[in-house]
Symmetry: C2
Subunit: 327 residues, 2 copies
């Protein structure tokens, strides 16, 4: 392990709809940040140019010279080749075979790494968020799908080339609804934000969720976390029931993983959880405790993400620093 | 890490019905071995005396002096306090709070460690058996229950104090048969040797498995691996069907864990698998490939245990050596 003399780090979150760059000092205080739309449909070349622009604007805001960067970490949607730093094929951006690590290293003349966005988020929570100091952290982030990651004794558990912890595809109900992956009853098919939105749209159609109908209509792309929360506040009891049922399945899936990996901390995050933290904390904790083996009932805590939208930038910057110091 | 000058190691397998000690040289060639019945009902004090006697007889056979031992490793049934080396409470022996590590260190004047028996077996397969060199190994050993373990980048994944990887309690069928743990449809309730034997007994009772009835009757304690294999060879097709169905569930459970941990090697072991290796290899491989996410279909191999009954002794001796060298 070598000591670095460089002091600043960029963490980058490359999302399906927006991207964010944060510049951190060596103790991970954010010195500057910049957000832009991703506009994946414009292609990867335009996308790479936007990434550079976003990083440069964040550096400007932070009043930090690129020459002072110790490294850049980027959390991106998979599948990835983590060793080579390549985005293999990203369906929701339409990008293929993007050599992001190589590109950034040339552009900024410093080491770069890429990580799965959820992995980076879980690592961020472990290093600077809700799970600091935990021996084993399971992160669960329900969104369009359900992202998962695990930090075990200080390191992210990963596959040979890419990330793993595909807990959205834990099959909790073998006769359940068809999942995008081709199986039935995956956790994602019963507990993702998309599964919730689709059940909520049905309730709206039936006239059982008048507030939601008024707020967001029946189009799944409009039935997002804030609309769901507001409709509950406005009295749509059925929406609360739908989300409690989804949270119950999350708890069942999490219990199965606790029986395997015995995490001491389970971190829940993502927009939906952050919109309704008390509901998720209560239902997931209760269900998980009821479903784990007796020896594990008191072995874990369920916590809500502390870093929110910054988890991925913090985590990817930490991973970049780790990689440089380990070399 | 320090080099040891001691050259010999004891691996010990403390089972519910029998115990075995093996003496290994520094490259894990077995120099001597001894088996005895465990006779757990005689109590832990008598049990500890039998353990010492068994180790001493193995040392005699190996012509190795206790003074030349680098360490002793014992694979035992859980739950354990791995850090303190205590068998907390072992229902199938009736022993409680046995300070095995401390006892052996005094008795043999060398370092001792304890490990979960299945973990030790998986580690043995990783170090000297079917999974040598694998980045991530998942071991699955169906027996009375279903044991599991995982070696990830050279180290066993474990809980804070005890082992984890309780894959027998992965809930594969939420409306399925009641499991001993209180949940429904755990893998153990549909795919363990005990689940198979109970379905086989029903078939025998109904007159559908005449060979099994003749060989073993309807008593679950007699319907063991060899009887099941022989009844299939004698033409009891229904017994083959029952075992194929159990192996299919094993494959489903394993697929779920592949989606989480992305092992490159899955090792199947235990008496039942060793009695019918081709059947298990075929059905588990096929089912797991059909149930994992597309990205993982070609990412793993299913293999049969190479060390058989010696996996736990080899693995626990390796763990003892690791512990001494790491100090």
């Amino acid at each position: 392990m070598r000591r670095t003399t460089k002091k600043n780090w960029v963490g980058f979150d490359l999302g399906g709809t927006k991207m964010q760059a944060c510049v951190y000092n060596d103790t991970f205080t954010c010195l500057g940040r910049k957000r832009k739309k991703t506009l994946g449909h414009e292609g990867s070349e335009a996308g790479l140019a936007r990434i550079v622009e976003t990083i440069n604007k964040a550096l400007n805001e932070a009043n930090v010279a690129a020459a002072s960067l110790g490294g850049i970490g980027v959390g991106c949607p998979g599948p990835l080749d983590l060793n080579k730093g390549i985005m293999i094929d990203t369906p929701n951006l339409g990008w293929k075979n993007v050599k992001l690590k190589e590109f950034l290293e040339k552009e900024f003349q410093c080491p770069a790494i890429i990580a799965n966005d959820v992995d980076a988020g879980v690592y961020g929570e472990y290093r600077r968020g809700a799970a600091v100091g935990a021996r084993c952290v399971l992160g669960v982030f329900p969104g369009t799908g359900i992202g998962g990651g695990c930090v075990y004794e200080g390191k992210l558990i990963r596959g040979k080339k890419g990330s793993c912890m595909e807990l959205g595809h834990l099959q909790v109900l073998p006769e359940g609804p068809l999942c995008g992956c081709g199986q039935h009853g995956c956790l994602e098919a019963v507990a993702s934000r998309l599964a919730i939105s689709s059940a909520a749209a049905v309730a709206a159609y039936r006239g059982d969720a008048p507030a939601l109908l008024e707020l967001a209509g029946m189009d799944l792309s409009n039935i997002r976390s804030a609309a769901l929360r507001k409709s509950i506040e406005a009295g749509d009891h059925v929406i609360e029931q739908i989300i409690r049922e989804a949270a119950r399945w999350l708890g069942v899936g999490i219990a199965n993983i606790i029986n395997l990996l015995s995490p001491d901390v389970v971190v829940l995050g993502g927009g939906l959880v952050e919109a309704l933290p008390h509901l998720f904390l209560e239902v997931v904790t209760e269900t998980a405790r009821a479903h784990v083996m007796p020896a594990y009932v008191k072995s874990f805590q369920v916590l809500i993400s502390k870093l929110g939208d910054d988890a991925t930038t913090v985590g990817s910057a930490c991973l970049a620093r780790d990689a440089v110091l380990e070399e």
